[in-house]
């Protein structure tokens, strides 16, 4: 199996002529104002149910995490550290425009408030896609990963397969397409996640969250272009001495083959609730299959041996 050896999204090339340019998101948290327009835009467009009204005390985040009913989630992290580190070199002579000290550089009162709009990563090698037993999850012609709601039977396998905890089963009462009563389930029961607005893409429209984003923290576009943009952005921020600036999921060599929706973070991923070194679980599947065949063989042999040899009593 070659699922992780290619740098191209699995399944994408099956489209032949119908294949489109791979698109995605670049979420630049250095300009995110935490307004949550993305969360609402997503819900309005995708007609997602309300996700409960729980005051968490976790800064301004009361959505808490991605899930079946939240496909964009804005994280808020309050930190006692400056946004920009003190620059080593003083401002160039004659540059009267720069402040005398870097923002928050005095250390004592330094404070920063990180905000990050999280979303499905649309991995190049997507575990959810691989493990889905029905083909409900599929790679679209745009290289994105989508759950087909007319197919999903709610087996839930993709839920623990995702290394980012993106997918979840909707436990709310079904609103449309109710299952026959004889089978008893009252809940929606299907798994939902970001579709990168598959329907909008088909109509040539930008995904709802990216369109709404007031500061263009969420940028939508061809992935290659976004990666270039991100590299330039990282270089700029690093030159300006921004604390902890790093790209997350930009590198096609990472454990999931690079994200279709990647990020510029201002601290390590785990601070935002993201795994620091995610790996697509199916990378180990070939090994697991052969290991299993060995176990099955051993078991066959074992049962046979224990039955064939030895006394009947």
């Amino acid at each position: 199996m070659s699922v992780v050896e290619t740098k191209r999204p699995d399944g994408w090339e099956s489209y032949g002529d119908a294949q489109k340019e791979r698109v995605g998101f670049f979420t630049d948290t250095s300009v995110c104002i935490g307004c949550k327009a993305c969360e609402v835009a997503c819900k309005e467009w995708n007609l997602i149910p309300e996700d409960g009204r729980v005051w968490t005390g976790e800064s301004y985040d009361h959505t808490s995490q991605l899930g079946a009913n939240t496909w964009r989630h804005v994280a808020f992290v309050e930190q006692r550290k400056p946004l920009q580190a003190l620059l080593e070199a003083p401002p160039a002579p004659g540059d009267r425009t720069a402040p005398s000290a870097a923002p928050g550089g005095d250390g004592s009162t330094a404070l920063r408030w990180l905000m990050e709009s999280d979303v499905c990563k649309h991995c190049t090698h997507a575990a959810c896609l691989d493990v889905c037993p029905t083909g409900s999850l599929f790679r679209t012609e745009f290289g994105t990963v989508v759950v087909q709601q007319d197919i999903c039977n709610g087996c839930g396998y993709c839920v623990p397969a995702c290394p980012f905890g993106v997918l979840d089963k909707r436990h709310l009462p079904a609103t449309t397409d109710p299952p026959p009563a004889i089978l008893g389930r009252k809940e929606d029961g299907r798994v939902w996640k970001c579709t990168l607005c598959y329907d909008r893409l088909k109509g040539g429209h930008e995904p709802a969250c990216a369109k709404a984003c007031p500061t263009k923290s969420i940028q939508f576009g061809p992935l290659e272009e976004l990666r270039e943009r991100a590299d330039a952005r990282l270089a700029k921020l690093s030159a300006e001495g921004w604390n902890g600036a790093q790209l997350y999921g930009r590198d096609p060599e990472d454990g999931v083959g690079g994200f279709g929706a990647f990020f510029l973070l201002l601290d390590d991923p785990e601070v935002y609730g993201l795994p620091p070194d995610p790996v697509v679980t199916t990378r180990d599947l070939p090994e697991m299959w052969s290991n299993m065949l060995a176990a099955a063989g051993a078991m066959l042999a074992g049962v046979a041996a224990l039955t064939l040899f030895g006394s009947r009593r």
Binding site: T134, R185, D254, A298, L300, T307, R312
Partner: protein, 331 residues
């Protein structure tokens, strides 16, 4: 639905390992960074049917082999009983799986595709083949007709059986759940051993001592193998293996060990003579195997729930070997 994972009254009391107001985790001197202690990955949404299926699937798979092997040695009582046990388990298994689905009426979508990347899809096909074969064999056995077909069905089911019994180990290992994924080498073996133990023990319950030798040996060997493999896995899991000693998984592990070992001892020492020992020992081993499956299941849920089992190993790995997940300016 989102929930208040850490009831704030607890947060205020600051029990170990919960969030403080600034999101830092305070845990007995260590500081693990996470997002307010919230899980990184999602806990599996599977309900009780799934661990139950692990048991019935294993039972069915091993019983099919046992039945055929017994037939080869001419142990007809064992062969028949194993056949029927396997067939029943093969009938219960899909019912359990369907019951767990969010959309049970769409169970047949499982056969929409053939996906080698999806252990669950592969398993569905295996279960179809194995269950179909074992039930065909059982029905023909009951009716006493079409013997060649019956034999063929029996052979098919005994070849598919080991796959059915072990693929569930891959099924859960092929997730991001730390304690499952990191146990990927042992899990199919443990499930195979557990299946052997279950099949042997279940057959023992229905056998007279004079026919129960192979079944008892199977049960005892399965229990011994599984115990050793579990030990090996826990050691190899390192820190994350601690979930097998904590909470529900811990209790179930102990119960599994106690019941399976006790049952196996009973079968080994008294099973030769006592029908009662066979029944009791067999039941104990089965119960033990059931507990084992539940322990593995619960351990998975527990390790998914606590971000440290996700973050710490990955952070350690990233710090040790570097990671391509993040691109830093100087890189």
């Amino acid at each position: 639905m989102r929930e208040e994972l850490h009831p704030l009254s607890d947060v205020n009391g600051k029990p170990p390992g919960t969030t403080s107001w600034d999101g830092s985790i305070t845990e007995a001197g260590t500081e693990m960074r996470s997002y307010y202690g919230r899980p990184v990955i999602k806990e599996p949404v599977w309900t009780w049917e799934i661990p139950a299926y692990f048991f019935t699937g294993g039972l069915a798979g091993a019983s099919a082999v046992l039945s055929t092997a017994a037939k080869l040695t001419g142990n007809e009582p064992l062969s028949k009983r194993a056949l029927y046990i396997g067939a029943v388990a093969d009938l219960v298994s899909p019912a359990l799986l369907i019951s767990d689905l969010g959309r049970p009426e769409r169970f047949h979508h499982m056969l929409r595709v053939v996906k080698i990347t999806s252990p669950m899809n592969v398993g569905s096909w295996v279960l179809l083949v194995s269950g179909g074969a074992s039930n065909t064999a059982a029905v023909l056995e009951l009716l006493g007709r079409l013997k060649p077909v019956k034999l063929l069905a029996g052979a098919v089911s005994s070849l598919a059986g080991p796959l059915l019994a072990t693929y569930t180990g891959v099924l859960i290992a092929d997730t991001a759940v730390p304690v499952w994924h990191e146990g990927r080498r042992e899990l199919p073996w443990i499930f195979g051993a557990s299946a052997m133990a279950s099949a042997g023990a279940a057959a023992s319950v229905f056998l007279r001592p004079e026919d129960a030798g192979p079944a008892r040996r199977l049960a005892v060997a399965g229990v011994l193998a599984e115990g050793a493999l579990m030990q090996l896995m826990e050691v190899r899991l390192g820190k994350i293996g601690e979930v097998y000693r904590q909470g529900a998984a811990g209790k179930l592990s102990w119960a599994a060990k106690g019941l399976a070992t006790g049952g196996a001892a009973l079968l080994a020492r008294r099973g030769k003579r006592s029908r009662a020992a066979l029944v009791l020992g067999g039941a104990m081993v089965c119960a033990g195997e059931m507990c084992l499956r539940w322990a593995v299941f619960k351990a998975g849920l527990q390790s998914a729930r606590d971000p440290k089992y996700v973050v710490e190993p990955q952070r350690e790995r990233a710090d040790r070997r570097g990671t391509k997940a993040t691109t830093k300016p100087d890189a």
